[in-house]
C-alpha cells in the first residue's frame, strides 16, 4: 500500500495535468476571457440546444422518384422512336401502377422495339440486376417497370444531388458551420448553429425549385378545364395564386435545370419583383428554338407544379436570358433566385422533424446549468469534507480534477456539450464521490474491526474496488444504450456519463490512493480521523 513507485506517481500526475490543461481553453471561453491563440486551443463545442440553432430532418418520397423515372422513360422512348432507322408505330402509351405501358401497332415490330429500348436500361447495383424490367404481354403490349434495384439507385442518386443542393442553398444564406448529412436511404439531417430565422431556412429547403417552360394547350375547353379534363397529351396545372387552371402540353417543354445564374431584381417599367435567369449554352439554344417556333403563342412558366405566369411569346428570345414574374415579394424573389442558382432539388423534401432553439434560451440554459453545477459541487464538497475529514478532502480534490478532466477530454475528442450533457455533469459530480464513499466506509469498518491503519486502508481500497468496478459497469451499459439509440442531445448526455465513469474511477480511486499512500508514508499517523 505504501509502496508507490515514482514512475507510477509521475504517470498519474502527467495524465492529470494533460487533461486539466486541455480543459483550460474551454473554461476561459465559457467565462468569456481571452485565451492566447498561439497556444493550442481545443474548446468544447456546444450543442444546438445550448448554442441556439436548428436541427431539421428532411425526407424525400421515393414515389416521386419513380414517377419522374417513368416520365423520363416515356420521353426517352419517344426520342428513340424518332431517331429509329425504321419507323415503328406505337400507341396507347400511359404510365400507371408504377409501370410504363404501350402497344406496338404492328406485332412484327415487337423484337425491333425491344432492341430499340434495351439500351435505355442499364445495370444497377452489384447484383447485375438491370434498372428496368421489360415485359411483353398479350403479344404486343410492352410493360416497363423500374426494378427495386433501379429505384434504389435512382433514389440514392437523387439524394446525393439533393444533399449537394441543400448544402449550396444553406451556404448562400451565409451561416457558419452548417452540418448536412445524408441519413439512411431517404433522409437528410441539417444542423445550423446560431440561426436567427429557422422559418426562412425551412422555406428555402422546402422549395423544390423545379422550373419548367411548357406550351399552353389553347385547344382545351374551359368547361373541360373546370372539370379537370385535359386534352390528349396535355395536363392540367393550377395557377400559383390559386383559383384557375390551365392546360399545358406535357412534352416538348424546357426544364430550368440548365441555368448558369439567377438574380432577384426589379422590373423598372412595371415595378414588379422579378427573377432574371441565364441559361447555359445548350439551354439557351433550346429556349431560343422553343420561342422561335412558337411566336405569338402563350407559354407557361411553371414552378414546382404551379403556373407562375403564362405570357405570350412576343418575339424569339435568343440571348439565353429571360425574366420571370409572378407576384413575388422582394423576399420570395430573392429566395427563388437562391433556389434556382443552387439548382432544383431532384425530389421534394419534406420537413419531418424540426428542433430549433433561439440564442436567448440557449444562453439562459448555459448560465443556469453552470449555476446548478457550481452550487451542487460546493454543497457536495462541504458534505464530503465534513464526513470524511482528510480523506474527504482528498476525495474533494479528486472531484474537482474529475470535472476538469471530463471537460478536457470532451474538448480534445470534439464531443459537444448539450443541455442534457450539463445534467450529466451534475449527475457525474454527485455519483463520482460514490467510489470514495465506498472506500472510506470500508476503511471505517475495517478500523472498527480493529485492523491497523495501513491494513485498514489497503483493505478498504481493495474490497471497495471490486464493488466500484461492478457498479460502474451497469452505468456503462445504460450509457451505451443511450448513445446507441438516443438523438443528439441525449447522445451528449451519454457521452458525458461515459467519460465521467472512466475519469471518476481514475480520480476517485487511483489518485486518492496515491495521495493517501504518500501521506501515510510521510506522516506515519498513529490514528486516522474517520
Amino acid at each position: 500500500m505504501l509502496d508507490f513507485p515514482r514512475w507510477k506517481q509521475a504517470w498519474y500526475w502527467f495524465l492529470t495535468a494533460v487533461a486539466c490543461l486541455a480543459a483550460l481553453p474551454s473554461i476561459f471561453s465559457i467565462a468569456g476571457a481571452p485565451w492566447p491563440t498561439t497556444l493550442p486551443h481545443p474548446v468544447i463545442s456546444l450543442g444546438l440546444d445550448l448554442a441556439g440553432g436548428s436541427h431539421i430532418l428532411l425526407e424525400a418520397s421515393p414515389d416521386q422518384v419513380v414517377r419522374q423515372r417513368l416520365e423520363g422513360m416515356e420521353e426517352n422512348v419517344r426520342a428513340k422512336l424518332r431517331s429509329a432507322p425504321r419507323p415503328i408505330q406505337i400507341g396507347d402509351i400511359s404510365s400507371k401502377d408504377g409501370s410504363l405501358t404501350f402497344m406496338v401497332v404492328n406485332p412484327g415490330d415487337v423484337d425491333a422495339m425491344r432492341e430499340l429500348i434495351l439500351p435505355l436500361t442499364s445495370g444497377a447495383g452489384l447484383t447485375g440486376q438491370r434498372d428496368w424490367d421489360i415485359q411483353v404481354v398479350d403479344g404486343t403490349r410492352f410493360v416497363l417497370t423500374p426494378t427495386k434495384e433501379g429505384i434504389d439507385q435512382a433514389v440514392s442518386n437523387a439524394m446525393d444531388t439533393a444533399t449537394e443542393v441543400v448544402r449550396k442553398r444553406i451556404d448562400a444564406l451565409g451561416t457558419r458551420e452548417p452540418t448536412i448529412i445524408r441519413q439512411g436511404a431517404q433522409r437528410i439531417v441539417v444542423q445550423v448553429p446560431g440561426l436567427k430565422d429557422p422559418a426562412a431556412l425551412k422555406a428555402l429547403l422546402g422549395q423544390t425549385a423545379k422550373l419548367e417552360f411548357k406550351l399552353v394547350d389553347t385547344s382545351a375547353l374551359p368547361s373541360d378545364l373546370a372539370q379537370g379534363i385535359a386534352p390528349p397529351g396535355s395536363e392540367i396545372v393550377p395557377y400559383a395564386e390559386g383559383g384557375s387552371m390551365i392546360a399545358v402540353k406535357r412534352l416538348g417543354g424546357i426544364k430550368g435545370d440548365s441555368l448558369t445564374d439567377a438574380r432577384a431584381g426589379n422590373n423598372s417599367q412595371t415595378n414588379e419583383n422579378i427573377v432574371s435567369i441565364t441559361f447555359d449554352q445548350q439551354g439557351g439554344e433550346k429556349f431560343a428554338k422553343l420561342t422561335s417556333e412558337n411566336v405569338h403563342k402563350p407559354f407557361a412558366i411553371i414552378l414546382d407544379g404551379k403556373v407562375l405566369s403564362a405570357p405570350n411569346i412576343n418575339e424569339p428570345i435568343l440571348g439565353g436570358q429571360a425574366q420571370i414574374s409572378g407576384s413575388f415579394t422582394a423576399q420570395s424573389a430573392n429566395q427563388l433566385a437562391i433556389a434556382l442558382r443552387s439548382g432544383a432539388l431532384p425530389v421534394d423534401l419534406k420537413v419531418i422533424e424540426e428542433r430549433s432553439v433561439g440564442p436567448d434560451l440557449g444562453a439562459d440554459s448555459i448560465r443556469k446549468g453552470m449555476i446548478a453545477m457550481i452550487v451542487g459541487t460546493v454543497a457536495i464538497i462541504v458534505l464530503i469534507a465534513a464526513s470524511y475529514g482528510r480523506l474527504g478532502i482528498y476525495a474533494d480534490i479528486a472531484l474537482v480534477i474529475n470535472v476538469l478532466m471530463i471537460l478536457g477530454i470532451m474538448a480534445v475528442v470534439g464531443a459537444s456539450l448539450t443541455l442534457p450533457g450539463i445534467a450529466g455533469f451534475v449527475l457525474t459530480i454527485g455519483a463520482a464521490v460514490d467510489a470514495n464513499v465506498l472506500i472510506n466506509e470500508r476503511i471505517r469498518e475495517e478500523r472498527r474491526r480493529g485492523r491497523r491503519i495501513v491494513q485498514a486502508i489497503e483493505m478498504g481500497y481493495k474490497e471497495a474496488s471490486r464493488t466500484i468496478f461492478d457498479a460502474n459497469i451497469t452505468h456503462v451499459i445504460a450509457a451505451t444504450m443511450m448513445f446507441a439509440f438516443g438523438s443528439g442531445p441525449i447522445k451528449g448526455f451519454a457521452v458525458v456519463l461515459m467519460i465521467g465513469i472512466v475519469t471518476s474511477v481514475f480520480t476517485a480511486v487511483f489518485l486518492t490512493r496515491m495521495w493517501v499512500a504518500l501521506w501515510l508514508r510521510k506522516a506515519r499517523p498513529a490514528d486516522i480521523h474517520l
Binding site: 440546444d49 429557422p198 422559418a199 419534406k350 420537413v351 419531418i352 422533424e353 424540426e354 428542433r355 430549433s356 432553439v357 433561439g358 436567448d360 434560451l361 439562459d364 440554459s365 443556469k368 446548478a372 451542487g376 459541487t377 457536495i380 458534505l383 465534513a386 464526513s387 470524511y388 443541455l419 442534457p420 450539463i422 445534467a423 451534475v426 449527475l427 454527485g430 455519483a431 464521490v433 460514490d434 464513499v437 465506498l438 466506509e441 471505517r444 471490486r466 464493488t467 461492478d470 457498479a471 459497469i473 451497469t474 452505468h475 451499459i477 445504460a478 451505451t480 444504450m481 443511450m482 439509440f485 438516443g486 438523438s487 442531445p489 441525449i490 448526455f493 451519454a494 480521523h529 474517520l530
Partner: protein, 325 residues
Amino acid sequence: MALLKLVPDNTNIKFLRWQWPTTIISLALMIGSFVLMFTNGLNFGVDFVGGEMIRVTFTQSKEAPVPALRTEIEHLGYGEPIIQTFGAPNAISVRMRLPEGAERAEGAAEAMTKRISETIKAAHSDARIDGVDSVSGKVSGELGWTAFKALGFACIAISIFIWFRFEWQFGVGAMISLVHDVVLTLGLFALTQMEFDLTIVAAVLTVIGYSLNDTIVVYDRIRENLKKYRKMPMEELLDLSVNETLHRTVMTSVTILIALFALLLLGPKVIFGFSAALILGLFVATYSSIYAAAPMLIWLNVSSKSFVPVESEMDRQERLARERG
C-alpha cells in the same frame, strides 16, 4: 472536530422484519402504477405522439397572455393546446398534438407548427419564439420504437452482466428490482401527468444504472457475508449486510440528490422534467435496493451453501496469528 455522520455507526435496524408489509406495499404500488398507466396514461410529449411544442417569451409583458393565446390557437381548429408557463411568468410553452387522423399525413406537423407560430407572432408583437420542436407522426413512431428498444436492450444487457458476476438468483433479484423501479417511475409520471418525452427515457435509463449500482453494492456485501458467516440465519445476514452498507447507501443517495436538487431548482427549466424524473427514480431505487432486492434472495433460496468458502489472504494470516496466540 467530530465528523458528520448521516447514519450512526453500527446500526442494527431489522429491515427484514418489515419484508412482508413492504412487499405488499411494493406490489400494490406496482399494480397501482400499471392501472394508472392504462387509465390516466402517460402524458406523451411531441417526441412520441407527433405535433409541435413552441416556446415563446413575451418580452414586453410581465405575464404571458395565456387565455388570449388559448382562444387564438383553438380557433385554428387543431384542438385544445397545452399552454404552460416555463421558467418565468412571461415565458410559455405551447404544445399541440397532431389532430386525430393526421398522424400519417406528410408535412402535417410542419404545417401546423408554421400556422401556430405565425398566429402567435401576428397577435402579439412582443412574442419572441425561443424554441420549436416539431415532430411528424412518422418520426414520433420511430422515436417511440427506438426508446422501447433502448430500454429493453439495457435491461437484458445488465441482467446478463449480473448473471455473469453473481449467482443466478442475484440476477433474477436485480432484474425484478429493476422492473420495480422502472414501473414505479413510470407510474409516478402517469400520476403527475408530467410530460413524458425522449429525455425522460434517458432519465429512466440512468435510473436503471443507479438502481443496479445500489443493488450491486448490497449484493456484493451479502455475497461476502455469506462466505464469512456460514452459520448465520439468512434473515439476520441480510439485515447485517443492509446495515453495513446503510451509511454508504444514504451518503451516496444524498450526494446525488444534492446535485439533482441543485439542477431541479436552479438549473434550466427546459430539463425540469428530466431532473424530476431522476430524483423520483433515485428515491424508488434506493428503497428497492433495500426492500425489494434483498428479501428476494430469501425467496429465491440463496444460502451459504450457494458458495464455496473463500478466505482472503489477509483474513487467513490474521486467523493463523490468532491461532498461534
